[in-house]
Homo-oligomer: 441 residues x 2
């Protein structure tokens, strides 16, 4: 799992954009999405398909129109983002305005990180509305109570670090359509649990590639239960309380199962099996000191990926994308492309942090530099283009699915995934506590 912990900084973005499809003036370049001069929607390698995709997304196709306008009729009210009962947060002066001008250009011009962080110049993204502060506070309160009282996630001295995670703000930004705070808590607990497993088993807090396959499998049984004999089941059940990662997985999964349909829970298990396979590929390469080819890295990163998070969007939204619609090959492709784009956001924002860490930490710019003989700067800028290409493909393919299958749950799910992608970018951008941009512009 990417490791996306931000500082609890105030957000400045009050611009709103409809997710994954350009704003109503979609045929006007630059409207709705934000990208700097280095890689607009029509730039980047391998751009033939991407251009078609971007072009398709830019045309006001029937599907796009449908989503923009929104379906009407019985039961479609839930397709619109939840209305806020609180007034919107005031716009912070001196930050990128909601005037449709490319925010990335302004950031690139100043060359300095603003209070809330600047987006990566040239990174194609959509600004999001400020996360609801009342919800953020309540989710933050509840997740801390869960971590401390229900799963004993961390010792007292780590409290500041947990607060700095600011996962409440993250999840509120990614799930603006959650009907209740309790729906948001489903995603928030899982995000915290996933980070605990990553930290304690794989990375920062005692993790290691050695023996990781055994640890991850046993932790995975907290999500995908062991079914065995009466003699051996109790020892397994006790093991789920043996360490913080497993306590967190077990409890967070229990809440998910209560709030999700069986197919939604099964989908999550599958996504988590993918995630664990991704961890194990990365660990294998670390153990054998192997630098993968770029496509190999991208394949690993499709598994070690945010995917389990955006695919919760319907559960957190209080509805269900039917299993057969989720399994459609075109929907699977949309989900994979969204997950890949959003995961590369993590690679790009965490680049300087990972360079400063001991050892070689694989990320897309590092792999491109090594495998394609490019300078660090050239490799980083190429990685931005790869991200942008994936974003355009995601948007084009999502529009195609919407056109082909314009049922309410599909449209809302596609919108939910896109909102998640945008919220995730916003959160990385504003995470100046952990991340700073390289000096490449």
């Amino acid at each position: 799992m990417p490791d996306p912990r931000p500082s609890p900084l105030p957000s400045s973005l009050s611009a709103t954009a409809l997710p994954f499809i350009p704003a109503p003036a979609a045929h006007l370049p630059g409207a709705g999405a934000v990208a700097g001069p280095h890689a607009g929607p029509h730039a980047g390698p391998g751009d033939g398909h991407a251009r078609e995709g971007a072009a398709a997304a830019g045309r006001p196709s029937p599907a796009v129109e449908l989503i923009l306008r929104g379906p009407s009729g019985l039961g479609t009210a839930g397709l619109h983002l939840a209305r806020r009962e609180e007034p919107p947060a005031p716009e912070v002066p001196g930050t990128p305005a909601a005037d449709g001008a490319p925010a990335a250009d302004k950031a690139g011009e100043t060359g300095e990180a603003g209070e809330a962080g600047n987006p990566i110049p040239g990174l194609y993204h959509h600004p999001v509305a400020e996360p609801d502060p009342v919800r953020t506070e309540e989710v933050s309160r509840r997740i801390k109570a869960w971590a401390l009282d229900e799963v004993e996630l961390y010792p007292e001295e780590w409290e500041d670090q947990f607060d700095g995670f600011s996962v409440g703000r993250y999840m509120v930004a990614c799930h603006p359509d959650a009907p209740t705070v309790e729906h948001l808590m489903i995603a928030t607990r899982l995000m915290v649990a996933e980070n605990a497993v990553d930290d304690c088993y794989c990375e920062d807090h005692g993790g290691s590639p050695v023996g990781l396959g055994g640890r991850l499998l046993l932790a995975h049984t907290a999500l995908d239960a062991l079914h065995t004999t009466q003699e051996y089941e109790p020892a397994w059940a006790r093991s789920l309380h043996a360490d913080a990662p497993r306590r967190a997985y077990r409890s967070a999964m229990e809440y998910l199962v209560q709030g999700a349909g069986p197919s939604q829970a099964d989908r999550f298990r599958h996504d988590m099996a993918r995630l664990h396979m991704g961890y194990l590929a990365e660990a294998a390469w670390a153990q054998t000191d192997y630098v993968p080819e770029v496509w190999e890295y991208l394949a690993m990163r499709q598994f070690n990926n945010f995917r389990p998070c955006p695919t919760l969007t319907d559960t957190v939204g209080g509805y269900e994308l039917p299993a057969d619609l989720h399994a459609r090959p075109d929907m699977q492709r949309v989900i994979a492309l969204a997950g890949n784009a959003t995961t590369l956001v993590n690679d790009l924002y965490s680049y300087t942090k990972e360079l400063a860490s001991p050892g070689r930490h694989l990320n897309l710019p590092v792999v491109i530099a090594e495998r394609e003989g490019l300078s660090e700067r050239e490799a980083y800028l190429k990685a931005v283009e790869v991200h942008n290409d994936l974003m355009h493909r995601f948007e084009a393919e999502a529009a195609a699915v919407a056109a082909d299958c314009p049922v309410p749950s599909v449209l809302r799910f596609l919108r939910g995934v896109a909102v998640w992608v945008d919220g995730n970018h916003y959160w990385h951008q504003t995470n100046t506590y952990r991340y700073s941009l390289p000096d490449f512009w």
Copy 2:
């Protein structure tokens, strides 16, 4: 994946039994299922639940009655096993008879493996009908053509070994209700591909735990495609032809996708992710020289498991268990229990072979002996009891699902899984080319 390659020996079992539920005279002890004196349906540790289960399976409950009688009405003809157009194979003289007497007892008495192999004394199992010889021959012919001409699976000098695999007989035994040979081929190609990956990446033919996570992930993309940019997609696509395991996965998956619904293909991907996680846990323990606790071993074995095979039963049968019914927690439990029982069959039949191999090969008897301080014989006999307990649980829980959700696709799927379990046992039993029983009786 368990490694179940048999010799192409003739089968001797002409007794037929309805899968997973006792034969019509179910209330008579010993009818329908076969077990020796060491561990009957009512023996074994942790037997409280198992006894209930066995008792429940033994009582002619409404659900059991329903399955025995079979539903009637439009569209239910497919619930019955395919009728043979060929006459049944003649019974082989001198082999366990279809007289309802415990075959295991006879095997135990002689102390010798018959031509077709004896069942493990005391192992609870159901004899199966002789696999259709005409279909077996045709599947064997086609799978060899596929291996040689379509995926270049092995060099010419391995032809005998491939023939000895006898995978056609295996799959015909496990899928007697397949409407056509082409349906059988879906399962057969996947079984061959899974064995190729296991052999070449994990075990006998050049496999190793070192770096396995990277190899398995890249192979997994042959099942669960990479979605990336136009620049990097071609290198990935080429990689799927780079070695026999990937060629086999890619082609076998392509056929599956053509013959299955999207949810069935997605289910298979999930099962394969589980399988690969299981391989990686086993590899991690091998690398760190760790002998797991018994429950840990059983957890690993729930992943490194036959599960991807029985859950194909509806695809091979030409129908679909709807995704929401497949995802039901009680159905997931039934599938896991069936997979676990049938995987332990592999541990038990391959015990002496694995003991004779270089290094320590983990299997349930070895782990029980090491962790519980039992003799090899005691540990083996206890492992038989663990298997029997899982079988009883599987049967009891399957009957409960059938009672709770007696729709045709559920009943046929449950029956199909049970038939797979029985066919798998039959195939291990008759595999005297690879397996021989220890001298513990």
